[in-house]
Subunit: 302 residues, 2 copies
């Protein structure tokens, strides 16, 4: 993992910015209703890899912008991701007791508060994005477009649609590759893709740049999910912070379930190569982070 | 009820506009994932009084605008209202089996789909508001501000916060009036108030007009909820389309529970008078609808 030292340092630096922004934006634990804000903060911090907001910032930098230009949207994207995890973990959905190595929100705060903490986080995300005073140099047309793109990516034809297909696919004896692709590209793909798109958009990127980063996002998003499936099958529980073989127990539609572990690895590798090739319109030196990140997706163990 | 004939005709006309807009905006039942869109449409149509979007349109007209200027936001407000009903009815929340005279979403589609249909509706609401192409004459600063105000009204310090307080207040032996006021002003009040605010805002209203309509909204919002509490206690089940005495069974914090039925009626009446007085900056002829609506809130039986 030594070759990823520069990447980890970059991610760490940006993650810190995102965390500081979120900590500042989200109401404190003594703001009424206290339990709601406690549940929200419990879910948000310390948090996971923050891969979506980091990609959003990286995309902004790729087109010559800065993290500050996109922080409200990067923070919002992480809030949307976090709400989706809280709701996915509910007993009526995936019924998971652990997440990121600690008990899930409904285990600690109860189901009602878990539903409501998710609802509040989703709503708060749109409050953050639309708060013009939080942008150093706001462009209203780009902000409105970013809000619209994120709402589309998170909605019934995006992330939520993917979660529905995932849940309805449980127990499917012979899922098709088409179906698994639909679930992955919607449940995780759309939000990863839009993170890059709106990062570039808000930082003033042009049409071609946005399309290329979109393409890159689509490829690494799917690769990320395939690797997730593989880790869910043969990963190390301690490193992952959650039990493995859960997908298989629930007969989830996963890549390994359809094409096997070896073929899944091969497909992930191809996608990563395609993602890196898509970046060719950018100068080589500018792309190092996105290229290293793509490579890391293949190597990650958690 | 004859004296409200003009009011009902007005509400009917605007409700039809809102319904047509929603029907056009929300994906059809054969859009994948089909079950999700079926659940969403089941919750949205035929729908209830549509009081929030009608107020939004009325506020627009009060400042010289038209329904078309605010339909994306009026529709969004109804989607947010509908998502909140779906989630409130869940077994882990109010556990209600009937709503508007038919089985609740989780009864028909299951809990997982009910959670996700709510999530999708909330997300869709922000997609609708931020879709510039749906406004005949879009003002970006006003659209961004409207999105922000609605997100605030719907979030942890608004509607969701009120629902948390409502649920946490269940079983409270001696709720205070302060607590009941908090629950009502947040759970229903904030969204009613913001419906009027953003209606006036998007139609080009000035600061003073927006503030006055806000004031009116606050008053009728609370009166509406007090009457709701009274109807929940002594209303007619058939007219309401849901069982009465549910609040008492669950020891909910309601106005009648704290101050009794008579005092609740008196307070609702005062609020309605105050609401009508607040409108004095507008010409008398222009206000008839909002004044009649205020009066009707006191008289309604469902």
């Amino acid at each position: 993992m030594e070759r990823f030292g520069r990447l980890f340092a970059y991610i760490d630096e940006k993650r810190r910015l995102v965390d500081r922004w979120l900590d500042n934006f989200v109401p404190s634990e003594d703001t009424p209703p206290e339990n709601l804000h406690r549940a929200i903060r419990y879910a948000l911090f310390p948090g996971g890899k923050r891969i979506r907001p980091v990609l959003c910032i990286a995309a902004a930098e790729m087109v010559g912008g800065r993290a500050e230009d996109v922080l409200p949207v990067a923070g919002a994207i992480e809030m949307i991701h976090t709400y989706s995890l809280i709701h996915d973990d509910l007993p009526c959905m995936d019924d998971d007791d652990f997440r990121r190595g600690k008990p899930t929100v409904h285990k600690v705060f109860g189901e009602a508060l878990a539903v409501l903490a998710g609802d509040a986080l989703l709503t708060m995300a749109f409050e953050a994005m639309s708060d013009v005073s939080r942008y150093p140099d706001p462009s209203l047309p780009r902000i409105v477009l970013a809000v619209n793109e994120i709402a589309k990516a998170g909605g019934s034809k995006g992330m939520v649609g993917g979660q529905v297909a995932d849940i309805e696919g449980e127990g499917d004896e012979s899922p098709t590759l088409e179906k698994v692709n639909y679930i992955h590209s919607h449940k995780t793909g759309k939000m990863i893709e839009v993170s890059l798109r709106v990062g570039a958009l808000l930082a003033g990127g042009g049409y071609r740049e946005i399309e290329v980063l979109s393409e890159y996002g689509k490829k690494i998003g799917l690769a990320f999910q395939i690797v997730d499936d593989i880790l869910g099958e043969i990963g190390d529980e301690k490193k992952l912070g959650k039990p493995v073989k859960r997908d298989r127990q629930k007969s989830k539609c996963t890549y390994p379930a359809v094409v096997g572990i070896d073929e899944s690895r091969k497909r992930a590798k191809e996608l990563i190569e395609e993602a890196k090739r898509a970046l060719s319109i950018f100068e080589d030196e500018r792309c190092w982070m996105l290229k290293d990140l793509a490579d890391y997706i293949l190597e990650r163990e958690r």
